[in-house]
Amino acid sequence: MIRVVLPHHLRTLAKVGDEVGVDVNGSPTVKSLLDALETKYPVLRGTIREHGTMKRRPLVRFFVCGEDISHESPETPLPDAVAKAHEPFFVMGAIAGG
């Protein structure tokens, strides 16, 4: 079970609380985690990654263990601390627009 913290707007959309738990088979990557997240909460499809291209939306960021990994390859393995649920995976809305 991986812990995922969603931004406020996506929590209200998915009707979830501060943190959700997502099961991922095998060694988790950003892609496999987001695939599992969108399978569990289909309403999130298209909100974090674009439909079709599956690219991260420009004003969305991914933080883990104090690092911004938004620009890493989606196939990059997540750190052990995230895979073992010691640390959450943060989906953030960029601070832009006031």
């Binding site: 931004p7 406020h8 707007h9 996506l10 209200t12 959309l13 969108e38 399978t39 289909p42 309403v43 499809r45 298209g46 909100t47 974090i48 674009e50 439909h51 079709g52 939306r57 004003l59 969305v60 809305g93 960029a94 832009a96 627009g97």
Partner: protein, 389 residues
């Protein structure tokens, strides 16, 4: 229930305002989808409990919401458990916000005159059809028309419009290149009118397969050729359902009228104090009575002299009269956006509009007097009214 239901989309959520037909005491319900921009909400003419809403965010993209109980509860179409269970038992669906252009999107003119790829940004307007509550059209930015026949679960582009020969000459207005108006002829539902900023008005007579620009008579001095076939910044068009051959238009500047389904236009601004503005609408029972809200200019988006005024013509243009009773007549510097005016169909027709200052005004007597239903909402983007029987 019977009475009036006002659907207000704002910068920070949706609000639903209800009253009986006296339209004096209102209940304000909301915000729904708090914090999200709600560009538009509209109820089905077939089933008033079916309401569609466009929920959008620059961060998290487009969401389509649907209510089947008059706005009490909402769902994103296609994400219920049964929708998500494919024939193979694997999850599917979640495509209600998937607006994908048909084929290679191509390019349109950008602000600097260069060509720029078509990119989907948001849904500006949702227009439920007359034949089924599950049939609905969506006008989007960058300008295109989409259609759903399954209650908003999936969307397909009617690409004949965007792929019109003139497409590369369309350009964004200040608010983006948006398809913001969709009018379906109730007497001939294959005839649809749309308006795009800044391309102009277009008409299909075959249900959306082919389109023609209908901008003859428009003059836009911001273009190299002011009378060009396309490029006009049409802010809004309207008609009376009983007389769909007569169209009214609030253009960037100029209020216009067509009596031949848009084939030609003539100016009817006449004695308006300024003919810049955004909304235009038609009285529910008088096809020649129309309403506009004059705004000072394209550089100063607020009423002249700080006085909020609705102007009414009972002659389908020209001969305008000012309506101010109950509206602020000093220090008022709000705007009224293109989709933020609507009418009800009570015997004494109600006129409604919302402002960027968060007020929603109602006149229960065709514009003679006005009251604010609510004063301090977020900036109002759209107002639609349902008259419930």
């Amino acid at each position: 229930m019977s009475g009036i239901r006002v659907l207000a989309g704002t910068r920070k959520g949706a609000f639903i305002l209800t009253s009986d037909e006296k339209r004096k005491n209102w209940k304000v319900d909301g915000p729904h989808f708090a914090g999200w921009e709600i560009y538009h909400m509209k109820g089905s003419p077939v089933d008033s409990n079916r309401i569609y809403a466009s929920q959008t965010s620059a961060w998290f993209g487009q969401i389509i919401q649907r209510s089947d109980d008059g706005g009490k509860t909402w769902n994103t179409p296609g994400t219920s458990e049964e929708d998500l269970r494919g024939s193979d038992g694997m999850p599917k669906g979640g495509a209600s916000n998937d607006f994908r252009y048909d084929g290679i999107p191509g390019t349109h003119q950008w602000y600097d005159g260069t060509q720029h790829p078509w990119e989907f940004k948001r849904v500006w307007h949702l227009e439920p059809a007359f034949d089924s509550p599950d049939h609905v059209y969506a006008g989007v930015e960058d300008a295109a028309l989409f259609e759903s026949k399954d209650g908003g679960k999936t969307w397909n582009e009617l690409s004949g419009l965007r792929q019109h020969d003139t497409g590369p000459r369309w350009q964004p207005g200040a608010g983006g290149m948006c398809l913001h108006t969709i009018l379906i002829n109730p007497k001939n539902q294959k005839q649809i009118f749309v308006a795009i900023s800044a391309a102009g008005a277009f008409r299909t007579d075959d249900g959306g397969k082919t389109w023609k620009p209908i901008n003859k008579g428009l003059v836009s001095n911001f273009m190299p050729d002011p009378k060009a076939e396309v490029g006009h910044c049409v802010h809004r068009i309207a008609f009376h359902p009983s007389k769909p051959t007569t169209l009214f238009m609030q253009k960037h500047w100029d209020v216009m009228r067509s009596d031949d389904s848009g084939d030609s236009w003539k100016e009817v601004s006449d004695n308006l104090p300024t003919d810049f503005g955004f909304p235009i609408d038609v009285h529910a029972h008088q096809p020649e009575t129309i309403y506009v809200v004059p705004i000072k200019s394209d550089s100063e988006h607020y009423p002249l002299d700080g006085k909020l005024q609705v102007w009414r013509s009972r002659t389908g243009g020209n001969k305008w009269e000012v309506l101010t009773n109950g509206l602020p007549q000093k220090d008022c510097y709000v705007n009224v956006l293109r989709d933020a005016m609507s009418v009800d169909s009570c015997d004494s027709c109600g006129i409604y509009f919302g402002t960027t200052g968060g007020q929603i005004y109602c006149s229960a007597d065709s514009g003679d007097s006005w009251n604010a239903i609510v004063r301090d909402l977020p900036a109002v983007l759209s107002v639609e009214v349902q008259t419930l029987k």
